[in-house]
Each structure stands twice: as C-alpha cells, then as structure tokens.
Symmetry: C2
Subunit: 123 residues, 2 copies
DNA sequence: ATAGGTGCAAAATATTTGCTAGGGC
DNA sequence: GCCCTAGCAAATATTTTGCACCTAT
C-alpha cells in the first residue's frame, strides 16, 4: 500500500490528540509541515482511512464530519455551546443518567451501527 | 404557535411510517397533497421540529440527514448496501453481538449524546 | 516503469437564507 | 392588522471529482 507523507501526517494529527478534528482542522495543522498540501487530499485520505477502518467518521447535524482515531465502540457527548466532543465510557449502561449527575445537560442522543443487513448479504 | 398545513403534513408523513426519510423524501411524499410546497419549507420545518424536540435529526456519513419521529433513546442499524435504517431495542446492552447472531454484519458504530457540558452551563 | 496519489480547479450535493407575498390568529 | 411562515431563487457550506503531473515501489 502507498504510504505517502500526506497520509502519514494526517494519521499523526489524528492520533496525537483527542480533539476529534474536522477535515478543515486537520488541514490547518498539516499545513505547518506540508504547506502545499491540498484540502482535497485531506478529504480523500480521511475518507479512505475510514473505509479501511483505521479511523472513525463521525457525523453530526449542523456540523461538518469529525474524525476519531479510536475505532473501539464508545460514546460521545457533544456540547451545543462550545462544540467540544467528549469521549465517554462505553461500559456505562445508563449513560444519560450518569451524565446528568456529572453536570452535563442532555438534550438528545443517537446511536448508530453500520454494516450489511441480513437480506442484503444473501443477495 | 403557528400551525400551517405544511407543518402538519410533514409531521404526518414522519409519524405515519418507520422509514426514517430524508428531507427530499418527505418533500416527494408531501407534493402529492400540496403540489406547490417548497423544498426549503420542508427543510425549515424539519429543522424547527428537531429544535423543538418533536423529532430527531439523524446524521450519517455520506448521507443526507434522516428524520425520526421517535425521540426516545434508541439505536439504529444502517445497511451499507440497501441504505435501510432499522430501529433497534435500546434495552439490549451488547447490541453488536446480538446483531451478528441475527444476521447483521457490523462494520462500525457510533453513539452520540447532545446537550450542554458542565463548563458551558456555568458561563 | 508503472500504478496509484497529489494538487488545483471545477463540480456536485445538501442545506440555508433574503425577500416578497400570503395565511393564521 | 400584525406577525410568522411559505415559496422562490440565490447563496453558502461541505465534500467529491477530473485531469495533468509527480512519487513510491
């Protein structure tokens, strides 16, 4: 597999922090090292890394996509006010209740699994 | 609160089925009853209904938003092949495992809560 | 050498907004 | 009548794509 410096740098930015950056944010950081990198390259690599299962693509309403280097099943909390995305413990069953006791005000939630359904697999 | 026939029709389409339609799909169905309705009106109403907490706005990668009349905490499974979005039981803790035994092939997952974090609430 | 990736610009997609006219209360 | 909403068109935002050139293997 092709291992370009662009792809390396993108993975490094993601792995290096827990900020769940957008494509634009990844692009800005990488320009320090690779000033001529194109935003399209960032998008292309992020999309591919997600398809390869190396990173997770997170979709929120009213938001560009965010990217997460942690591909384990885990939950997130997104603050409506500051936009920060917190990682949560997946072992907590009644997360919404616990969040309240920790000072988070929960307005909504969603949980999604992706894959192929039974009927499509038999086609 | 203003109760236009457009708003009513949009809510009716959503409540009447479990297909988690997109704005475009809602628009197509409503045109049968209100041929002159504008797509912008559909978008505006869906956005508002979501803000008011009457419906849920679901965001997926590579997909326009989908809308769900059920605002209770529950999980979804989206098939990569046919695009269908299944509703899942929220009481199942190890959903991913159960899905496998039911013939679903799980490629990825995400779970998100929305609201205001503790530090923003004290501002 | 060649397959595959990059950069740039343009296109495609999804969604929002400004404005005027019309409907609900 | 007044205010909010609809309809239309144009704008915006995000992401993808075509193509010529470059680079890793």
């Amino acid at each position: 597999m092709y291992r370009t410096k662009q792809r390396h740098a993108i993975l490094a930015v993601l792995s290096g922090n827990s900020s769940h950056p957008t494509a634009e944010q990844v692009y800005c950081r990488i320009r320090r090292q690779i000033p001529h990198i194109s935003l399209a390259t960032v998008y292309r690599n992020l999309k591919r890394l997600a398809e390869e299962g190396l990173i997770l693509e997170l979709s929120f309403p009213d938001e560009p996509n965010h990217y997460d280097p942690c591909t384990e099943l885990h939950y997130h909390f997104r603050c409506d006010l500051c936009g920060w995305i917190y990682d949560l413990e997946s072992s907590q069953v009644q997360i919404a209740h616990r969040l309240s006791s920790q000072g988070f005000s929960v307005r909504g939630q969603q949980a999604v699994f992706y894959g192929a359904c039974a009927s499509c697999q038999t086609k």
